[in-house]
């Protein structure tokens, strides 16, 4: 009998550590001899904490939304009595979600113990590395990756083989392989899950890539906000060294390669490759002009290649299973799979890995279970602050680089934030602009000043002070910032504004000309009033109102003075009779 508790950051946030403790306690009290194991995130984050029980015949049962109070029953009935507690098990519908996916980058996440190299090896781990460094030339490795059609998963979708080849051909003895684990898109956690759930797959990808380009060292640049990922990587690197998979003469070959971790210090722009290099060098993370490209002059002026975590996680699978198997998945121009972090107003949020080419509708409805609380789907934001929104009318767009780019959004690194009728699109644009404005490093004028001016206009509009001409001014500024900015941050910052104007111009117009926010989200544009039929005159709203805008006698209908009201929503929260109307 084996008991496994999912303990990625999401599981822990949902209380997995307490469940783990309780399991150990109950197991001990029942005199059982079972060691509670851990694993990474399986992706069904909405069901966390998740506990798997595998019996001696290898039959796996999955318990979901486990609370410490449920543990006693599970231990006594299942671990002791060998019969599963049906009522706590995952539903058929939920377990079907996993079957609709195709797992390559996430192949081991939520299955193996990320702190055990043995479990990774048992699932063919490090076979690809051995094959590459002992049986293939660097050129052959590049050729296999080329044939697989793997493109970078960090956002831009550049062919991976091309970058490796360029770095390989770049002259100089000291070359570096860098893993970009900065995962800056606020609302995405694909890379975190891979690092926490299957760190060895990333290490393997780096060793193989390092071999292909002729690197001497690998560096993983991890976001400061991911302490658990750093810990799991440290353990994994240590284990790989002990086994001789890292360090001098990898697998007894002539190739030597080691990896170290560098913790970032919190700056979105450091996800951009030249800024990342500056940060690795201990400087302010400001982007540098390209060319020279990192493949020529990167980390301390040495040839450097940078790939995303998920890109690396695919590499060993490709070498092991062959390029053809990978290229068989996906579309003509977008091969393989892509991991998405499905969040926002979605019923079943979490991590999903799908073959390229799947329509968004299937991702959102069949896998994500549709919109929360039966509300209407409005749009989905892809690619975070650098991306754009795709409106409900384009929900049949397929997930591939070209189709998504055509909508004005981008594939991005995998953030997929779903929005419903209560999300104000002007406010979303304001939100992203306030993010990029804050994260702009300030080096170039278009980005530094342009994003600030755009933000000011958007703030005005959401506060009910929009003016005729604001939309046009935003459009003009957006185009200029796009053209004039030096790095990807500024060049893509206008995307959320441009796509929301393109698809939701009416919402902008409502804000500016009618002073209305149809999503009822921009507070300054709301009016609060009292429904005469429902108000019982209980006075509780009047007592809660911080500015005394509500008047009325006991047991008589109350009234809100719109000139005094600050739209704080206290009355709405307080009223038990649903008598407060918001328009």
């Amino acid at each position: 009998m084996r008991v496994i508790v999912g303990q990625g950051s999401c599981g822990l946030a949902a209380g997995a550590a307490k469940v783990h403790q309780e399991l150990e306690k109950q197991i001990k009290e029942n005199g059982l001899n079972i060691h509670v194991e851990i694993t990474g995130c399986i992706g069904n984050c909405y069901l966390e904490p998740i506990v798997d029980v595998i019996d001696d015949q290898g039959v796996k049962k999955t318990y979901v939304c486990v609370k410490p109070e449920m543990v006693k029953e599970i231990v006594e009935q299942h671990l002791q009595g060998n019969s599963a507690v049906e009522k706590y098990l995952i539903s058929k519908e939920d377990s079907a979600i996993l079957r609709k996916q195709k797992r390559v980058a996430l192949r081991n996440c939520g299955i193996i113990d990320p702190t055990s190299i043995e479990e990774y090896i048992a699932l063919d781990g490090y076979k690809a590395t051995e094959k590459a460094v002992t049986n293939m030339t660097p050129e052959q490795v590049v050729d296999v990756i080329k044939a697989s059609g793997l493109r970078g998963r960090g956002g831009a979708g550049f062919p991976t083989w091309f970058k490796w080849d360029a770095a390989r051909k770049s002259p100089g003895p000291d070359k570096y392989m860098v893993c970009n684990a900065d995962e800056g898109d606020p609302g995405a956690f694909m890379d975190r899950s891979v690092l926490e759930g299957d760190p060895h797959s990333v290490i393997e990808g780096m060793v193989i890539g390092g071999y292909a380009m002729g690197a001497v060292e690998g560096i993983i640049y991890v976001r400061a906000e991911y302490p658990l990922a750093i810990k799991r990587l440290e353990t994994a690197i240590e284990q790989a060294r002990e086994k001789g998979f890292l360090g001098k003469n990898v697998f007894g070959s002539k190739f030597s390669f080691d990896i170290r971790i560098k913790a970032g210090a919190g700056a979105f722009v450091c996800g951009e490759e030249t800024a990342l290099i500056a940060s690795l060098e201990g400087e302010r993370g400001m982007p540098r002009l390209k060319p020279p490209f990192p493949a020529q002059k990167g980390y301390f002026q040495k040839p450097t290649n940078i790939n995303n975590v998920e890109t690396f996680a695919n590499v060993a699978w490709i070498i092991h299973n062959g390029a053809a198997a990978y290229a068989a998945m996906g579309t003509e121009k977008a091969k393989g799979t892509k991991v998405f972090a499905l969040t926002g107003k979605i019923n079943k949020g979490g991590l999903v890995e799908i073959p390229m080419g799947l329509p968004l509708r299937e991702v959102i409805y069949d896998i994500g279970g549709g919109i929360r609380n039966g509300k209407a789907f409005k749009a989905v934001q892809m690619g975070g602050p650098s991306g754009g929104c795709i409106p409900a009318s384009l929900i049949d767009t397929t997930v591939d680089y070209e189709a998504l780019t055509k909508t004005g959004a981008i594939m991005g690194s995998g953030g997929m934030v779903v929005m419903d009728e209560t999300t104000c699109m002007v406010d979303m644009a304001r939100f992203f602009l306030s993010f990029t404005r804050k994260e702009s490093c300030g080096k170039c004028t278009y980005c530094r000043v342009g994003t600030k001016r755009m933000l000011e206009i958007l703030e005005r509009i959401t506060q009910g002070e929009g003016k005729d001409g604001d939309i046009e001014l935003l459009e003009e500024l957006a185009a200029k910032v796009k053209d004039g900015a030096m790095c990807g941050l500024g060049q893509t910052a206008p995307n959320p504004v441009q796509t929301t104007i393109r698809y939701f111009r009416n919402e902008y117009e409502d804000h500016i000309y009618k002073k209305k926010c149809t999503a009822k989200s921009c507070k300054s544009l709301l009016t609060f009033s009292i429904d005469k039929d429902k108000c019982t005159g209980c006075t509780s709203c009047a007592r809660k109102c911080p500015v005394k805008a509500i008047s009325g006698e006991v047991k008589k209908t109350h009234e809100i003075d719109p000139h005094v009201c600050i739209r704080c929503g206290k009355c709405l929260e307080t009223c038990k009779f649903k008598a407060i109307l918001v328009d």
Binding site: P186, G187, A224, K262, G344, G349
Partner: protein, 174 residues
Amino acid sequence: MSCEKNGCKCNGNSEFKFVQLDPVIEKYKNVPGSLIKILQAAQDINGFLSKDIINYIANGTGIKPAKIYGVATFYAQFRTKPIGKYLIMLCKGTACHVNGADMIEEAICEELNIAEGETTADGLFTLNCVACLGCCSLSPVMMINGEAFGKLTKESVKKILYELRNQERAEGVK
């Protein structure tokens, strides 16, 4: 203990604990590109990067204080002001924004009577807003001293803070 006795070159205005940083400075001062690592260690030891500790690092590494300050203020992780015993990192990433992070911020500010970036008068809590803690499917999310709390509501967040404060008071009485 005066720091001069410990061979510190900060003109006597630093605290004794700065010497804990010496091994880190020693290890990294000749490794190019290590400034961020040294600053991270300094912040771990001191809680924040004071002018004194920046000067101390400058003396130890030969890097100009202005440059150190430039790096320290570029990154969100570094603080130049002290923080409370509990550091609340409230996520204001996209998923949390869509699911009402602003409301949670209001609740925290109301409960603690501080604004974002500030510390309570009793020195217990500091509120910092960050972008994405990587637990988006449990949004809205906050982290207090490294422990994550998900699916927050106005009520649940107030309860968490209230309990922490009570716990502190109880310990104070003991």
